[in-house]
């Protein structure tokens, strides 16, 4: 009897020792985990500013009205009193009451978000008779130039289930992550470092005391190369057309001064969660407002590509710029007839005149002489067919059609017809407006310019790799582009700038979306106005200014805008005018 009890007592002793000595550290951890909770203090998201420091994304204070049930003596009366000067609708006082009673007594319940200053004052004035009512301050992301910068800066959103975010953060009502654009690209830099409060709580989660506080570190400022004024002006000008994109770049530093995609949208709508209706409108629009057409829209470069073909030909050393072709309006290759833009032909043209008048026949003849491989090599050299590497997510890389590409994709051999189509930037060729701007910058500088959205503090240190091109050949292209705008026979003559210091040069393009059938050729080629918007030609102009010392390159693309000279070029002229006037540094 006593023996049994002795053994059992020994068991108790052993267990007590095991729990209290051997396992003690483990249980101490658990006990602290019980009583010490961490409250995350969200950092302020880093500002995004333009090149002169103008705020493009900032944090506005969000005043929200809270109610702490345990401090309220009469809930219904308090709610009615608040409702007299701050409308609590759409929720009725009855539904609010039931919701409040479901939250813990000591936890502040959010009655209303986004109080304006007037309402904050009213609450503060009436404070003595409103026990348990508080105004708490939080931060909300705000985009002052929402439409102009929606695509570049993107927006923040509350994390969804797919995001790799810890549960503690995801549960915070104010927590946002960058969803698109620079907000997504520089998420880590902008996010900052969260601080926390260590608090002691009891079993009912009521805070008993504060143990310590580690302040949060705000996210760092993102200083962009963009010029907000130019962006506004360009956006306004381009918005006159239905849909398009424009890029302006400093060719010496690669800094993008303006980058626009129209139509745009209000990025502030997304911050607090966009409504179903708004979302559907944006998502189903024919003009794809949610796409950043400057980097995600891919278009046949059209006649812009002639710069590549011309340069490739000159660089072989076998083709002289003075080589002439006779344009009679078309070229027959085998059984197929390739038409020039000018139906009756341009007559005798050399390279400069071919660029100036955008004669297709010249390039139809030139391209087979040098071959597609030579053209494709030059296109890659100029940065086409590859991502430019600009600091934005989801950039498209376009396409440079090559023999191997056609073999792989279509399992067909390359034909002479493909080379001829490629020579005028049609066929399978695709590029983004940003790529075309970069092409322009590379042609002008002869170096491998790479675009950037970040402000370059030390502009003298910016140095791009040389492309080992003959400067004389580049001069020929510039001459062509000068003539294109400033020669009365040039395709963009109507949009020239006459002021000598601000003259512009460039190349127009009308990139075809549809194939013109033989039947249509025989009867009458339909005018753009006569066909539906989706099938009209894209209007493109890539140009630069000033002509005597090129500094800015631009590409304006108007989706389905018709002839390049007519739609895109006037816009480009206005933008280049604006950048020369506006841009001082």
């Amino acid at each position: 009897m006593g023996g049994v009890k002795g053994v059992l007592t020994g068991l108790l002793m052993g267990r007590l020792g095991y729990l209290g000595l051997v396992r003690s550290p483990h249980y101490q951890t658990l006990a602290n985990g019980n009583r010490i909770k961490l409250q995350i203090i969200l950092p302020q998201r880093g500002l995004i500013v333009d090149r002169i420091g103008l705020e493009l994304a900032n944090n506005t204070t969000n005043y929200c009205l809270t109610l702490t049930l345990e401090q309220v003596s009469n809930l219904e009366e308090t709610l009615r009193r608040i409702d007299q000067f701050i409308s609590l609708s759409p929720k009725s006082i009855e539904t609010l009451q039931t919701e409040i009673k479901q939250t813990p007594k000591f936890k502040p319940f959010i009655l209303k978000n986004n109080l304006n200053w007037d309402e904050v004052c009213k609450v503060q004035v009436n404070r003595p008779e409103l026990n348990g009512i508080n105004v708490e301050m939080g931060y909300k992301r705000h985009y002052p130039l929402a439409f102009e910068f929606a695509h570049l800066i993107g927006f923040v959103q509350a994390p969804s289930d797919h995001d790799d975010v810890s549960e503690e953060l995801a549960n915070l009502p104010d927590y946002r992550i960058g969803r698109t654009g620079l907000e997504q690209q520089y998420e880590c830099r902008l996010q900052g470092k969260a601080g926390y409060r260590e608090i002691e709580v009891n079993a009912h989660r009521r805070v008993v005391r504060h143990l310590r506080k580690i302040e949060s570190t705000p996210g760092s400022i993102l200083h962009l190369s963009l010029n907000a004024e130019l962006q506004k002006a360009a956006f306004q000008r381009l918005s006159e057309e239905k849909s398009g994109a424009a890029v302006v770049m400093n060719i010496k530093t690669g800094e993008v001064l303006s980058c626009i995609s129209t139509p745009s949208f209000d990025s502030n709508l997304f911050v607090n969660g966009i409504g179903h209706e708004d979302w559907n409108t944006l998502n189903n629009s024919l003009y794809t407002p949610l796409t950043n057409k400057a980097i995600q829209g891919v278009y046949p470069p059209g006649s812009i590509f002639k710069l590549v073909v011309a340069l490739a030909a000159l660089e072989t050393g076998k083709i002289s710029p003075s080589r002439e072709s006779f344009c009679k309006g078309f070229v027959d290759v085998g059984t197929h007839r390739f038409h020039c833009v000018h139906r009756t032909g341009h007559g005798r043209v050399d390279m400069v005149r071919a660029l100036q008048m955008s004669c297709d026949t010249y390039f139809y003849e030139l391209a087979p002489l040098i071959g597609i491989d030579c053209i494709a090599d030059m296109a890659f050299k100029m940065g086409l067919g590859e991502k430019t590497g600009v600091e934005l997510p989801n950039e498209k890389k376009g396409l440079v059609a090559t023999r191997s590409w056609k073999k792989m994709k279509l399992n067909q051999a390359w034909t002479i017809g493909d080379t001829i189509n490629a020579s005028i930037g049609q066929g399978a060729m695709l590029s983004t407006p940003l790529q075309m701007t970069m092409l322009m910058a590379r042609v002008l500088t002869g170096t491998a310019v790479i675009p950037t959205l970040l402000y370059q503090n030390n502009r003298d240190a910016v140095h791009f790799r040389g492309l080992s091109l003959n400067p004389g050949n580049l001069e020929v292209l510039k001459k062509g582009m000068d003539a294109c705008v400033n020669d009365p026979w040039g395709s963009a003559y109507a949009s020239r700038i006459e002021e000598p210091l601000h003259k512009i040069g460039g190349k127009t393009a009308t990139s075809q979306v549809r194939r013109i059938s033989k039947f249509e050729r025989q009867t009458r080629v339909l005018k753009n106005e006569e066909i539906e918007w989706k099938r009209r030609d894209h209007s493109i102009f890539a140009g630069y200014a000033p002509i005597h010392a090129p500094l800015y390159a631009t590409c304006v693309l108007v989706e389905h805008g018709g002839g390049g000279g007519r739609t895109a070029t006037p816009i480009a002229r206005d933008i280049l005018w604006a950048v020369q006037k506006e841009q001082k540094t």
Binding site: M1, G2, L8, L16, G20, S24, Y27, N34, N202
Partner: protein
Amino acid sequence: MGCSKGAKNLIRFPFSSFQKLRQVNGWIIGILTLIASIGFVVLYSAAGGNFSPWTEKQMIRFLAGLVVLIAIAVIDLRVWLTQSYILYIVSLVMLFAVEIAGRIGMGAQRWIDLYVFNIQPSELIKITLLMALGRYFHEMTLEDIRKLRYLIVPALMTIVPALLVMRQPDLGTAILLLFAGGTIFFVAGIRLWKVMLICVASLSAIPLLWHFMYDYQKERIFTFLDPERDRLGAGYNILQANIALGSGGFLGKGFRSGSQSHLNFLPEKQTDFIFATYCEEFGVLGGVVLLFLYICLIIYGYRVALASRSSYGRLLAMGLTTLLFLYVFINMAMVMRLVPVVGIPLPLVSYGGTAMLTVMMGIGLLMSIAIHRDVRIGRAGTFL
């Protein structure tokens, strides 16, 4: 075993009531006071450094309990012997009464309010069962005990109240009754194989017992086997108790510094789980000291049993000692997750009057046996 029936010389018990009072063991009163004081300290701490609501009431109860203890101790053991059956029957009837009252729904009150104490029939029966069994075996010769049919009556005497309290539902008391009653069978001299038989029988009764159990009792056993199964529900108590006890370490977190109890993570911190509250603040060392004090009481119980010349005294002392041991063991083992959670308080330390009264009455009887250790008692309770 059995008493010396051939004793010739009739010894009159020599002491007056006053002299008996002087025989009350001061050491034991001291140990009881020490144990109760540990309880006062823990209750004071658990109330956040207040005498109310627990400590002051508990002190009054302890003092009242001491009076009861001494009163019982000085009453002649033969009186207790002769009244054993009556007391047993009265408490059994009360048990039935509260069971029926509870079933009819006329107030689910299972106790009788005596201002300081609430008397629960289920508490009383723990003592009276032992007394009745003691008397039954006292009146029996060793030969009789070896006959199986003589065991039917005491077995029924044990099982009937055990089943009744289990329906209350009070699994803890049922276990105490079965084990403490079983001890008397064993000490009375039943052959070992019969004890084994009882063990086998009770093992085979487990399915029956399971059938009698309420869902929450079954849940407790599931929870015991795996408390992580339901961290915030049924397993919460025992996990938090383990955390409290384990986090105390060797020396504890210090008086009034137990986070588990003060921040209310530990449920039942002042009643069934008070051992965890205590160990959180006073550590393993404190736990060992308390256990040592209880061991002193138990050793005292054994010494009383061995010193008693009457069969009744020996049997009852063994039964009461086992009862005390079971209280302590089951409570501590349940807090430390060695056995499933059953509602058994830590004697003298846990807040509450009923268990305190039971233990004080039991120790009082032990003392009565000690004071009257030299009295020889005949089979019919007559003086020899």
